[in-house]
Amino acid sequence: MSDLKDLETRLKAWEEKKDVASLPEAVSDLNEPLKVVYTPLDTAGIDYMDKIGLPGEYPYTRGVYPGMYRVRPWAMRLYSGFGTAEDTNRRWKFLLEKGNNGVACAFDLPTQMGLDSDDPEAEDEVGRVGVSIDSLRDMENLYKDLPLDRIVSSFNINAPAAVILAMYVALGEQQGVPPEKLTGTLSNDILCEYVSRGMWVFSAEPALRLTTDVVEYCTRHMPRFYPFNIRGIIMREAGASMVDEAAFAFSNAVDYIQSAVERGLGVDEFARRISFFFSTGTQIFEEAARYRAARRLWARIMKERFSAKDPASMLFRFTGTVGGSFYRAQEPQNNLVRGAYGLLSNVLGGVQGMLHPALDEPFAIPTEETAKLALRTQQICAYETGVTKVVDPLGGSYYVEALTDKLEQDIEKGIQVIDDMGGAVTAIEKGVMQKAIADEAYRVAMEEKSGKRVVVGVNRFQSESSPRKMQYHRFDPGMFERQVARTQEVREERDNRAVAAALDRLKREAAGEENLLPCLVDVVKTYATLGEIMNALKEVFGTFKEPLLV
């Protein structure tokens, strides 16, 4: 310790001699002061094995796996397009031939909201941002001639997740594939929708029950189907700070886990299938430290709060992306550079998979060229920079370890605030998360307006911008008409008495405590539409009342 005392003396002398106090100040992304330089004094109290440890071992600060990218780089994902069920079906067949067995399904907004294509509220939205699914018939078309026992399906679906899963199970039955052989994931993350994305339907408590029905059903009958992908990204993109993104995502996750445990599931039965999806900005060291902190904190939560015993239950595994909110429409080529730095932040933070946005993200759907550049950004990082050679290369940095500790404390405090008010559902119903997000979004907007927060090419170093050709997802009226006609045909051809009876049974079970998945599988087989099913559930569950605040 005499070394540290000596260092302390030398540091003070250096500060005086070099007039360090008169140097310009710097603050973290959250406006907290940063030192000019960090030294062993800042990490003196940290017990290495206790707090930092080794990769692949509790508390996982240095990485979820021992070898990390030395084994293979993070999974490089491209956000691909969508279309009609037939277009998507064709594309998936092509991918399967090429040896790619993973298919990601984006659904249009009406489907995400549990609305049929001919619902007046669905007007102008059918098929625009994803596939339209009104009934089991549409799922059949989507997966026509595709073997469900060889495909990994990823569904970004939340409020109607249980219904979509039921359709998938029913489809499996048609193909002779039992539920336990079906492989895939569901986001199934309704709490995040209430906070920042708006694709909610039911009141929060019944929605949480449905979420847990999905988790229970998957845990018991579909062990290859991961029933969670918990998103911080949505909240970050809505304006949440890097601390709140983690605090709110973890609070939501805690509610889901609590609900599953109360249902009678052992935490080690399902927790290994939890994964997260976060958004990363360009503050390289803070972001990397944040993910190190997140790993340590999540492991502690699983061990201390939920008494997890299986190491696999304690892992903060995440897909990262560079948040589209960090990109700008002005001088879009700059986004390529922003993307590279954000990607580096993710990699230094130990990400498992990356969905990298294309440079034209602020105003267009990716072209083949910009999608390729996004992939190249990842490949150059993985294969040309050497960052994959050694695990957690920033570990031991006085600055990064100090940041890691601070961020862990801050995130933990954020979770405590939510806990103290009764948990995520209460916080959401009261608008607490929403307000924190709106406050931070406004703070950042004002900092950009004043120039305190520099955005190159936008509020500093501007040049004459040439107007860009903006695109958005087109609404195809022809496709809309065909979809509506198909759904009406389904309604005419099915046994409507069976549908009515099935929906009655659903309402009875919804009012009770059964797991609704088995009933939903039967209901979807009658070709009841998604809208009809969701309306029936709405009668029992009620709809969410959004706290109105700006």
Binding site: L109, G198, G239, R328, P362, A438, A441, E448, E546, V550
Partner: protein
């Protein structure tokens, strides 16, 4: 006593991205204007009804789904039917350049496409309602 400018900030349709709507609403509040926020999933008719009930001066729409032409036409029609066509309608969101003129022809007072500064809306209203401020 001059009456404060009353603004209805509205989110029509299914799109749930409200970061811009909320931040812009705050710039109005900072200016001393009154803001009523509708929340998400509003139909054009609901927006018209609320605008009339709340006796607002301005309807500010945030549309990020590309449905702005259709939504604006319906709201303008609804306002006419309610005898409330004197209300100022402004729209912000993912609006392509070539839609700006048709929107204005249809009756939209001002359009704020991507890249608009955060205070462009309040600047516009300051000028338009100069006599009231």
């Amino acid at each position: 006593m001059r009456r404060k400018i009353r603004i209805l900030m509205a989110k029509p349709g299914l799109d749930g991205h409200d970061r811009g709507a909320k931040a812009v609403a705050r710039t109005f509040l900072d200016e001393g204007m009154e803001v009523i926020y509708t929340g998400l999933h509003q139909s054009p008719q609901q927006i018209v009804n609320t605008a009339v009930q709340e006796d607002v001066d301005v309807i500010a729409l945030s549309v990020l789904s590309g449905t702005h032409m259709s939504v604006c036409r319906k709201i303008i029609q609804g306002l006419k039917e309610a005898g409330a066509q004197d209300k100022t309608l402004i729209v912000g969101g993912t609006i392509v350049e070539e839609d700006i003129a048709p929107l204005k022809e249809a009756g939209v007072a001002e359009v704020f496409p991507p890249g608009s500064p955060i205070d462009a809306g309040v600047e516009y209203l300051r000028k338009r309602f100069a006599d009231r401020l």
